[in-house]
Symmetry: C3
Subunit: 142 residues, 3 copies
């Protein structure tokens, strides 16, 4: 494994951790900064193009589910992260996620990602979120 | 930490992720390719020697539990992965796993591993799977 | 990312894994060796200063919850680990944890950490543990 690949993989792991940490904390500015300006975000039947549209989506979700509404907190765990580095500036990945609230396991699914190095930072060029299942009456399926 | 150890640890983390990703997806050819030709796989009272025997074991499990039978899907999360690099071509590791199906947490346990670099790839030389607990009526304990 | 940062991040990830692996196995000597001699450990309203005080805390917890008492086993999974390397010898981090016993998910929360390189090893200089929630009648809330 070449050094650029080691660096890419470490940076991508960091990116994936920060996405969930920022999102769970409601820090949408910092979360949005993890996306390329022209990134695509897909969730169920919605495809959002560009940071502004992605921001609007997260603000809509937060309005319904924000702090103290659907749950006191949400914590996204990710796992089984496969990273495929394609070049010095492009990579793909996929991983699982599982979300805990104060009531326990709430919902879980998968992320399928494309990463790009833009300037000197690895960012999401595309993230597709799949919901595999959710506990009825919880955060994701109120 | 020397560069070869960084590379080894990153490659081993990747190996451990791919094992579960491939297994959960039913891609046994790709999963088997992660084992050394003469690898050992242990589960409960069974010890399987070599890729052919390991393949037969997984095919038997899949027959009982494959897609749409015992569960709509299985997702293995691993965590708390300790990696001990012994030399440029040998390492040991251990980690926890937890499996989600569409019904939630299904079963969980531990992997104890030996890794070898064979050619230019890190592979499983030995994997021992321990089941710590399982939800009755689920995938692992139907 | 410079090579020292790659090494720091890998070493810190290893540190965080070993803390839980050693703790879950009741290997307190090895667990304590992961803390700086003058480390601080915070949990709820307690602040423990130095390895001797931290050891006394863990021995007290073990007396109440040790092997076969509150649970047959505990397995700490960590996730969403953000690591911020400040210098060649100082870093900060935070991550989530979730604990399984033989009954399933037991309790979950967060670690907020300061790491220091002391000699040639990264150690905990400070760890703050927050309990977010626990299943009633389990290990953490008997």
């Amino acid at each position: 494994m070449e050094l650029f690949e080691l660096e890419a993989r470490e940076s991508i792991r960091d990116l994936v951790a920060r996405y969930n940490a920022k999102g769970d904390a409601g820090r949408f500015d910092e979360m949005l900064a993890l996306f390329a300006e022209d990134a695509t975000f897909e969730f169920e039947d919605e495809t959002l193009e560009g940071r502004a549209a992605i921001r609007a989506f997260f603000e809509r979700v937060a309005e319904r589910t924000g702090s103290g509404r659907a749950a006191a907190f949400v914590r996204h765990f990710t796992g089984t992260h496969q990273i495929d580095v394609i070049s010095e500036r492009a990579a793909r990945g996929r991983c699982y996620y599982a979300v805990l609230t104060e009531r326990g396991l709430d919902h879980w699914g998968r992320y399928v990602d494309e990463y790009r190095m833009i300037g000197d930072r690895w960012l999401f060029q595309r993230r597709k979120v799949t919901l595999d299942a959710a506990v009825p009456g919880g955060w994701a399926r109120p």
